[in-house]
Amino acid sequence: KEMATFLDGENAKQKIQSAVHRFNESCFQKCVASVQSPTLSAEEENCLSGCVNRFLDVSIRVANGIQGSR
């Protein structure tokens, strides 16, 4: 029983990590066009957080839309 709870928790953590990898790959590509310094510009940071927030908005809308169309 404790093992199952532990595994569920690890599983959830793992899903979150995978999602962050996927979002970061896609948003980094969209928001970071050049590498002149090791820090992100304010514009890039703004773009990155917008990218992940809008992607979540879209995913929720799409999921609801698909459920509604059934």
Binding site: S26, K30, C31, E43, N46, C47, G50, C51, N53, R54, F55, D57, V58, S59, R61, V62, A63, G65, I66, S69
Partner: protein, 70 residues
Amino acid sequence: QIKQEIAVANATELVSKASESCFNLCLQKPYNTNNDTCIDQCLAKYLRSWNIISKTYVSRIQEAANAGEI
């Protein structure tokens, strides 16, 4: 129960792929605003496209099976 797991996996895959396609078609940098109308129309198109692809693909498999190729 296996059927249900497959259905869930398919729905998840559909949400994920439709969201990515529609994000790319509807949103622009720096991703500060949503565009719900575009997302809804895009999802409708994506589902119609899914039906065309599915029908075409299944009929090709059918043909090949009838011709004894597979």
